[in-house]
């Protein structure tokens, strides 16, 4: 982000543009580098699943072990933090968040992703087709495109609200969960408490909206920042300067996937729980 800020302040074009570059159009739909890479990721995941999980054996071997370990690990993570029925609802989505985000982030570290594209030619470099920096890269990790992170957050926002309404047996139940007086108080004290809890409920409602935005922006910021650093460092010292950052970004890739997934689970847990319900 520092490099981006420096670039913006001097009026220069950022090293990696915040928006994923448009490669071509399919009708009215613009196809960006991140959309292309999300197709590549989809194909990759589909191939892995077909190879490892098409003929599941009771005694697992090879790729089936890895797929089972991933699915079982994510299921345990979900079930450890949510009620069983909520975990059943949430598991497919949160598991997909982790797998897709981790894959997307890791594919961003593959040499060529983000560094092959169109840009200002570099005639001083000995190899042909050399450019200074790719202003339009052919591939870009979907998680470094705000459209994808916002799409994932929006999906989460809508589905988590649906789960919350389902869990609390209707919209009224959800409103009571958010704005209702907790603690089982009775008598005149309920009046000031109702005002207090209404104010708290407003903050809670606001936080429910902000959570989704925070999820999207946190992931986008981290991965876009990492991408910018890698592209910048690749152009220094013949690319050697990028090597330590690749190790760093490898960790960031997995950590960000885990953070997004964990936060999605925890937010779902706060929406779908009876722990703060008024006592009956």
């Amino acid at each position: 982000m520092f490099f981006l800020a420096a670039a913006e302040s001097t009026g220069q074009t950022p090293i990696v543009h915040p928006a994923a570059p448009i490669l071509f159009h399919v009708g009215p739909l613009p196809i960006t580098a991140s959309i292309v890479q999300s197709w590549v990721i989809l194909l990759l995941l589909f191939l892995i699943i077909r190879l490892g999980a098409s003929r599941l054996q009771m005694v697992p071997t090879g790729l089936q072990n890895a797929i089972e370990a991933a699915v079982e690990g994510l299921e345990r993570l979900t079930r450890g933090l949510l009620e069983p029925k909520v975990a059943d609802w949430a598991f497919p989505l949160v598991a997909t968040y982790f797998i897709f985000i981790a894959t997307s982030n890791l594919t961003g570290l593959i040499p060529g992703v983000g560094t092959i594209g169109y840009g200002e030619p570099n005639p001083n470099f000995p190899l042909p087709f050399s450019i200074h920096h790719p202003h339009i890269s052919l591939l870009r990790p979907p998680t470094s495109d705000a459209n994808m992170t916002c799409a994932m957050a929006a999906i989460y926002f809508v589905i988590s609200l649906f789960w919350a309404i389902r869990y609390h047996r209707g919209p009224w139940g959800l409103l009571v969960h958010i704005f209702g007086v907790k603690g089982g108080m009775k008598g005149w004290i309920l009046i000031p408490l109702a005002v207090l809890f209404f104010a708290v409920g407003l903050m809670e409602a606001l936080s429910i909206v902000i959570r989704a935005i925070a999820l999207a922006m946190r992931l986008y910021g981290n991965i876009y920042g990492g991408e910018s650093v890698l592209v910048l460092m690749t152009g220094m010292f013949g690319g050697l300067a990028a090597v330590p950052f690749y190790f760093f970004e490898f960790a960031v890739a997995l950590i960000q996937a885990l953070i997004f997934t964990l936060l999605a689970i925890v937010f779902t847990g706060t929406l779908c729980s009876h722990s703060e319900e008024p006592h009956k």
Binding site: M58, P92, A151
Partner: protein, 181 residues
């Protein structure tokens, strides 16, 4: 807000495209990975639980069988020991009985032999007396030169027999003779 989103490249067409992309990923993973793998894991858990139950049951049965085997073996050992003891006792009793019977038989045979020898001895003695009596009669008739009347013969025979030693005396003489030899 809208300007900030525009700077980040967020617009409706790309947003919708990425939403569809993610939805497809979600559907593919759920359809081809999560459901079959979770079903398999559940089935495997069930099988493992069944296997553990079976193993526990088999272990119990094995323990029971081992206990039964040990009991049977113990009973068999006890029975065998009892049978051996009984057989030994029966053999001992049989041996003793046979020994007694053999001893009695031997005693009986010896007694019989003794009686027979005694009888033969008496018969021999009687025969000797009779022959001696006849000899004395013949000798007397020859020496006297006359024919002895039946009364004389009877009297002479009685005297001769009376002068011969008794059975006890005869036995004593025979014993003395065998000692000398």
């Amino acid at each position: 807000m809208q300007e900030a989103l525009a700077q980040l490249g967020v617009d409706w067409p790309r947003f919708i495209a990425q939403t569809i992309n993610f939805a497809i990923v979600l559907w593919v993973l759920n359809r081809f990975a999560y459901r079959p793998v979770l079903r398999l894991l559940a089935e495997r858990r069930t099988r493992i639980a069944e296997s553990l139950q079976n193993a526990e049951r088999i272990q119990k049965e094995l323990a029971a069988a081992e206990e039964a085997r040990r009991e049977i073996l113990q009973k068999a050992n006890e029975q065998a020991a009892r049978l051996i003891a009984e057989a030994e006792q029966a053999a001992r009793q049989q041996g003793e009985r046979l020994l007694k019977e053999a001893a009695a038989e031997a005693e009986r045979i010896v007694q019989k032999a003794r009686e027979r020898a005694e009888q033969e001895q008496q018969e021999s003695r009687a025969m000797v007396r009779r022959e001696v009596g006849e000899l004395v009669l013949a000798l007397t008739a020859k020496v006297s030169g006359k024919v002895l009347s039946p009364e004389d013969q009877e009297r002479l025979r009685a005297e001769t027999v009376a002068q011969l030693p008794s059975s006890e005396r005869f036995d004593a003489l025979r014993a003395a003779a065998s000692e000398r030899n």
